[in-house]
Symmetry: C2
Subunit: 526 residues, 2 copies
């Protein structure tokens, strides 16, 4: 029997499933024993109905209970840590140490606790009070469930259950309908069990969290465009994201997407001279960590040539050459890497180091560095900008900052852009040339560091202009900013005091919540 | 010769215009003498190119110069007040007093000055600093021009030049490409002259404001989906808005829309008993002011029957019956009102008072009240919810709060929803039944007042769930919230202090700007 789905407040078998599937262990290439259902429309529809009712229930429960729930879930994940790490490792090939145990799981529970704290604090609602006009407004929940589509590369931190979008949506007061990533359904089931168990006694509606393992693309489009839905959060491939976006847009439904980014890194001549080999080592690590399967992996390195170029290149090539093959998430990733390499070759780039599928059981790939001169890149920048997911990066050599600027001008929207520059000031003029287009096109601009670390900080932006995301004003990482995606602005015009939500009454409901009262941020009561 | 367009920093004739048009005086029905060009793609393309360059120029100019510009424009409009009022009156039929001179023009200059103050204050950018992670973020301009499409009903306050969206976009640091509403091109030209004159000596790029009088729907779609564009702000009809939205969405470009709303008003039995005739008088004024040509006109009044129903109805009918015909904006509005009446008749509603095109020169209509029982409304709520622009409202009589709740549950997204309830507490139970769906579906919830006044307040929400707007998290009225629509979130990760924008350096650039530093809102420097 395939696993049970979590719908309408309980575990049950999928109704009229469209089929079933098994996850594959990417280290062996063999399917894992358990079967998971592909839900068809009846499951989705029931989840939408129950989710809409749960939205009212969450409103009644209030922020303190929601915060308590998120904290209970974090503790529940810690209690299940070993099972989660074991299962996620089998379904993704990611190492237990340091990745799953010491990095991703603490990050995930940390996100849940940060979201809980923000929920309890309430400042994120941006309560705004105009006492003269007796007009008051705040952000409030969307009134319908949020559909979360998780990506394949973070089985905990971006899981549709318990990951960043989940935490943000729930902390903002919305139920979640999680569409698990089919890469790791068993991991998602463990998370879903923790999420469901934590609901008991929380005071939250039992349908605040619902989980489906898989749906057809057609049912996915119906889900994201359904009138009862509040919003969708999607992290994944550009192709899948654009398909959902088209359906949601047509119906006027909110959808947030995190899709595609090259994360260009520009290395200036002074930096090459001062610390070329160290920069090469940092960049290699950023390209190859996690088998390169990060949204912020540098897929494009632009080298502005100078006296230090050769030492940098030698060090970078050596690092790629020495890198062992790493297990990738699956056959699809491998195929994408091979297609990316073929595309680069067809465009006139050449392989500079490493690369290629490796022998052995399962799906393995050696980190690959490709190379092309700027003149050729600029002949067809759109073709060179197609993201390849995994440890494949393109190095472009530019003669001077002006040529590098032409590359920067040609870029689509990016999650990140980085500039390595000299400490001695010799790169300042080149920096000034490159910064404007990179600032415009990237959500996060870095100096002298590689982009793969995405701190969960209030000042983080994990987003950027299209196609990096679907809206440049929002981030999917960083509390409380990520929560504001799942909220509606709600004004109260001469609404009687006893009918106002607590956050907008004269008294500050917590004593600590920040509110904008007559133009001043304050924690005082009125 | 048709009038000149304002493109790329100067007035010039339209290149290869697709034709020309004359505005019509709605009070006489006669065309006004002056001709205006319908621009074709070469004008739009040149404006996009110049606007993209002006975006860089505005970034260099900085907030103080931008604020000074907006203030100079406000003063310039006051200097041209009589010409503006005269011309707007001829092109719209709206009365000089109190509407144009005492209400709309001061509102428009007030918006510009509020936007200037917010721009100078800089708190709106939500500067967020995480000192431990050395991660800093703020909202910044979009890096391309904002296309503003103004509606036909507010020749000053929502004009694509000098109106609310214009003020918000410029204050957020973006150039504007204004697509004038063809209802009042002469008014727009006066505003454009003021806007262009104010640029001289402002330190802002000459292409910070560009103005086209008309473009084909096809070129409009090309404009809103163009890679150089930053965003679009549209206020107008649902049909035109959805056409632009489809094009912008497909290209991944931001578009904000303010389109369609019935602005339902629910009147509860206790309120009817306490002050039925006064409520009727307020509601009539809200329905008929400005010939009913407001986005927030109550198009739907739901009466929960009780002992006061008859007195309320009698007073409301009498007010509609006594109302004189008013000049409407044009033949299209008249046709829409007639089609709306025919649609209501076809659905089984009946005319309760007033209504119908009136004799006399030009385009005139008598405010109309239609009536239908709730049971019939609920038989086809979608058909009854098509907005009719102008002074036509539908009164629905509900037997009890439960039936009224069914109507509330059936509503699409709204700009506003209002509940009239008794002071003595007798309506509190009914209020609790109605509030949840109305709160969910409306951007602004009112108690005991009609929705047509839209104060320019930081706590205002002139927006709401689709189709009232395109994104429920944003408002098109209210400074500084309206500015955040035209901004991208931009993070700086370990960027050297001298390369940071002033708002994110350790020192507070104005001493007064609010910033979120390590979780605390503060005006202090670090």
């Amino acid at each position: 029997m395939p696993a049970q789905v979590l719908v309408a407040g309980g575990w049950r078998e999928a109704r009229l499933p469209a089929g079933s599937f098994r996850p594959v262990d990417p280290a062996s290439g063999e399917p894992l024993p358990e079967e998971f259902p592909i839900s068809s429309w009846p499951d989705v529809e029931e989840a939408l109905q129950a989710g809409a009712e749960a939205a009212d229930g969450l409103l009644g429960a209030g922020p303190d209970r929601i915060a308590g729930y998120l904290e209970a879930l974090a503790a529940g994940l810690e209690g299940r840590a070993e099972a989660l790490i074991e299962r996620a490792g089998r379904e993704t090939g990611l190492p237990a140490e340091p990745r799953l145990r010491s990095s991703e799981l603490p990050r995930t529970t940390g996100q849940l606790r940060q979201a809980a704290a923000a929920c309890r604090d309430r400042s994120w609602v941006r309560a705004t009070i105009d006492t003269k006009a007796d007009l008051r407004s705040k952000l409030g929940p969307l009134g319908g469930p949020v559909a979360v589509f998780g990506p394949n590369n973070f089985p905990f931190a971006f899981n549709a259950v318990g990951g960043g979008d989940f935490a943000a949506a729930v902390a903002a007061g919305n139920p979640v309908i999680a569409k698990a990533n089919p890469q790791y359904p068993g991991t998602t089931r463990l998370l879903a069990e923790a999420a469901f168990d934590a609901l008991a006694g929380s005071g939250l509606p039992a349908a605040a969290v619902q989980v489906l393992y898989h749906v057809s693309p057609e049912d996915g489009r119906k889900l994201v465009s359904h009138p009862r839905l509040g919003a969708t959060a999607f992290t994944g491939s550009r192709q899948a994201g654009l398909g959902l976006k088209e359906a949601a847009d047509r119906a006027g439904k909110l959808i947030y997407l995190e899709m595609s980014s090259l994360n260009p890194v520009f290395v200036l001549p002074g930096a090459l001279r001062e610390r070329g080999p160290e920069a090469a080592s940092e960049l290699f690590a950023s390209c190859a960590t996690g088998a390169g399967q990060f949204c912020t992996k540098p897929g494009l390195i632009v080298l502005v040539e100078g006296p230090g170029s050769e030492a940098f290149l030698t060090a970078l090539r050596a690092a790629f050459e020495a890198a062992p093959a790493a297990v990738v998430l699956g056959a699809g990733v491998l195929k994408g890497l091979e297609a990316g390499a073929a595309r680069l070759r067809g465009l006139g780039a050449e392989r500079a180091a490493g690369g290629g599928a490796a022998a052995g059981p399962g799906f393995r790939f050696r980190p690959a560095l490709w190379r092309v001169p700027a003149s050729r890149f600029l002949a067809d920048p759109a073709a060179f900008q197609i993201e390849t997911f995994g440890a494949l990066s393109l190095l472009v050599t530019a003669r001077d900052p002006a040529e590098a600027r032409s590359i920067a001008d040609s870029l689509e929207g990016q999650l990140t852009a980085a500039i390595y520059s000299a400490v001695d000031g010799s790169d300042d003029a080149a920096y000034a040339v490159l910064e404007p287009p990179l600032r415009r096109q990237a959500g996060r601009l870095l100096n002298d560091r590689a982009p793969t670390g995405v701190a969960v900080s209030p000042a983080m932006n994990h987003g950027g202009p299209f196609p990096a995301s679907g809206h440049p004003g929002f981030t999917s990482v960083g509390i409380p900013a990520a929560m504001t995606r799942f909220a509606a602005l709600q004004a109260y015009d001469h609404v009687r005091p006893d009918r106002l939500p607590p956050e907008l009454r004269n008294g500050n409901p917590t004593g600590a919540m920040w509110r904008l009262v007559d133009g001043e941020w304050t924690r005082r009561s009125i």
